[in-house]
Subunit: 195 residues, 2 copies
């Protein structure tokens, strides 16, 4: 029952913070949306920052879930897994009329300079994102399915940069144009198949 | 004198919004920092949104100024202009201990879903950024200094995505690693010289 209340606070918090940003979302507003009594908050969280850190875990899992099955689908080749991964986010983003963007990317720009604990957790979250891409790239290079004239770690790092910026431009432009450009250049020019 | 007061409000506003975000910065706080009487604000701006739109112009010019001279320096080749352009931002960002990031990028993620007027202005600002890069790329392709197997417009679009995401990761990681990866992959793999 206790965990259910905590989960409700995190779920409604995530929805509101995704829409309005962390600093601009009040605790009272979240508790009202979650229909939870005002006194409950400090029973589950030490402070707004502590809540924010747990919220970041929650939102990062939420974001990762969109592409997780595509990335681990061993029934297709590693390059196809990567394409399916980005396609899953594209479909999701389009369904939301290109609103919101990446919940983790939003918090990176909003919170990195405001809380060292937030920054450290965001750094780990970005590292996990890069790691997920690097693992698939590693398999693709081993299988000679993409060009091997690249450092897999650097390429994964660059792909996460390009993807975060693509989502930033898409959130502004409200069209698929930036995603189409991303897919074309990453898959046709950077990760061109060897044969 | 009137314009001087307006300019002071915009300058202090830009500094505070860059640090804390637009929604989290109060008008009273800006006027206090600018040492301007409280009644003055609505003399110069119709609303906080109107102020925000003028602030975006101010911050976009501020951001563009960092790289403007590198981008228009005809004494060096177009690819060198591009490298010097990104180096100028790198130096600036390093001097600020990797705090802040791109003032325009920050507002893209914060404001695109919250105000249609803001979104439209951000869209135009991103278009100008892409246009600046595309012009130099066009010259480089004509001079056969970079590979011509690319659409200049798409490449400029992609470079702005990659750069915005690079600044996002740099703001979190507080190191030059993402910028080094960006320069290596963009200049050595994407825009490789033809000979």
């Amino acid at each position: 029952m206790k965990n259910e209340t905590k989960e409700k606070i995190l779920q409604h918090g995530a929805r509101l913070v995704y829409k309005k940003g962390f600093n601009h979302t009040g605790i009272g507003e979240i508790l009202k949306a979650a229909n939870v009594p005002k006194g409950s908050f400090y029973h589950y969280f030490h402070s707004k920052e502590d809540f924010g850190l747990k919220l970041l875990d929650h939102m990062a899992m939420w974001a990762a879930a969109v592409g997780a099955s595509a990335l681990s689908d061993k029934s297709v080749t590693p390059p196809e897994r990567l394409i399916n991964f980005f396609n899953a986010y594209e479909t999701n983003f389009e369904r939301m009329h290109f609103q919101g963007g990446c919940p983790v990317g939003n918090l990176c720009l909003e919170m990195s300079d405001q809380s060292e604990l937030f920054r450290e957790k965001l750094e780990k979250t970005l590292e996990q994102m890069r790691h997920g891409i690097a693992n698939v790239l590693e398999e693709a290079v081993e299988a000679k399915e993409v060009s091997s004239d690249l450092s897999v770690k650097s390429m994964a790092h660059f792909i996460i940069s390009a993807w975060q910026g693509t989502l930033l431009q898409t959130k502004v432009m409200k069209s698929k144009e930036s995603i189409a450009v991303f897919k074309c250049i990453v898959f046709e020019q950077l990760l061109h198949k060897q044969q």
